[in-house]
Subunit: 280 residues, 2 copies
């Protein structure tokens, strides 16, 4: 998906919301957890049972309810890998389902991979060929050659961690390189090997005061902004300081939408929360 | 596995070698690639066919040949994820095989994960509970709270990236924090939240001149040293400058052992290479 397609979707839905599909069996509503005991489900041409069945039924319900109100989904790989092969099958089926039903949606693998060149090439193949994601998040610690293999794919996106939303983000991201904080050096040097049509950056919403400064040296790239909702950031502030003339923002909320309600109404409550988050 | 067990194995085998199981179908000997066309294989109680069959047969042959000459195996997740579910099933079966046949071996998931606390907890579960690895490699960019969830597991290890072996390693790892290069700040601050019984560091062998300096402030922790062999580092130099009184080193070679030969003799050539690498 290219930048124009993404911008058109933002305008059509009047939303910058990305829903983080961080599935956690323990937090799912009872009616979904119970499905793990209900035999098998055929979904996207495959059989699912046990926890895997709960995951695909939960994702299907959340996606069907929230797709009109968001422009992107972002499964975090950790929440599937922890269920082993079953979890990865559930992720594949979820991706296939979104692709077939909601082809306009931008799909992000929140994987935070980062490795030497020949290995990064295999990760790029995993997320852009074996799986069909539009984008993958990448950690910059190993430098440019751990990022370039992802950039070889046309109309696919590399989303590099810059300034994250967690409590210890500043510990190393505020180290100094050539008179700049490290996160800025990461952004400027990554901008030097890419363009706003194939690279985005992760900038935590809990640092909304930093967004205006970031836009001063990075006006064009999309920013993926986590930390809204459960982590305490304000989507309104993010849009005020972070938006640009192509939208420029994917504002992520995960737990605040997925687990807003734990009754049989969980999907409609998720839809309400989604409609009220990062819309304009 | 604890530090004493690891040291005993180093003494018994007189080796500090870790073999990187970076499976790449395109580089495998023809006799192994052909197995993809040879119907199904039962392995560790599961059926494998196609590329997955080649992967498990290759790993089994390499492990059986090299286990007497190494103390650890380190599958890099990228090389399994790129084959999708089949690749992950092959990884699981490989881990089960090593666990059942060679229980003395230290098993490292080279995954380079790194995410916020609640997500890191899921990755720790994935590698230490769902899969049965002794250790996982972790990227430090997001700071201490992305590492601590891994430390909650007794006799499991977190291996934090410090100074890597790739060409662009210095780009961000030599940024400055409080008068120190970033990689040193990472090591010293991670040492502050852990101990030498649950944390190791990745230090690239292509920086062997740095090893003596690293031992001046980090005398006790095991170092996982990639970059020997295909990447150009010298195992002898690494042992000269990096060993300590508990061994202190896991010296990794991947391509230099796995793909040393592409005939039917590949496994015995791999064994010879393994016996000649990082032994003493």
């Amino acid at each position: 998906m290219n930048r124009e397609d993404l911008y058109r979707q933002i305008q059509a839905k009047r939303s910058m919301l990305c829903v983080g599909l961080d599935v956690d069996y323990a937090k799912m509503p009872e009616c979904i957890r119970n499905l793990a005991e209900s035999g098998e489900l055929m979904f996207q041409g495959q059989e699912f049972r046990g926890t895997a069945r709960s995951i695909v039924e939960f994702n299907k319900a959340i996606v069907d309810a929230t797709a009109p109100h968001c422009i992107a989904y972002k499964p975090n790989l950790a929440f599937y890998e922890c269920y082993g092969i079953d979890g990865m099958r559930a992720l594949d089926a979820t991706v296939d389902y979104i692709r077939s039903r909601y082809p306009e949606i931008f799909l992000i693998a929140d994987a935070k991979r980062g490795d030497i060149g020949n290995t990064a090439k295999m990760y790029a193949r995993a997320f852009f060929e074996t799986m069909d994601f539009d984008a993958v998040t990448v950690a910059p610690y190993m430098g440019a050659d751990s990022v370039t293999p992802f950039l070889a794919y046309k109309d696919r996106w590399t989303i590099v961690l810059a300034l994250t939303s967690n409590a210890s983000a500043a510990q190393f991201q505020m180290a100094e390189k050539d008179g700049r904080p490290l996160y800025r050096a990461v952004m400027e040097e990554m901008m030097g090997i890419s363009n706003p049509d194939n690279m985005m950056f992760v900038v935590g919403a809990t640092k909304a005061d930093k967004l205006a400064e970031i836009r001063s040296f990075c006006p064009d790239n999309f920013l993926l902004v986590p930390g809204v909702g459960a982590q305490g950031g304000s989507a309104e502030e993010v849009m005020q300081y972070g938006a640009n003339d192509k939208g420029g923002l994917l504002i992520n909320s995960s737990r605040g939408i997925l687990y807003a309600d734990n009754t049989r109404d969980f999907a409609s409550v998720a839809a309400e929360k989604a409609a009220a988050t990062a819309s304009f």
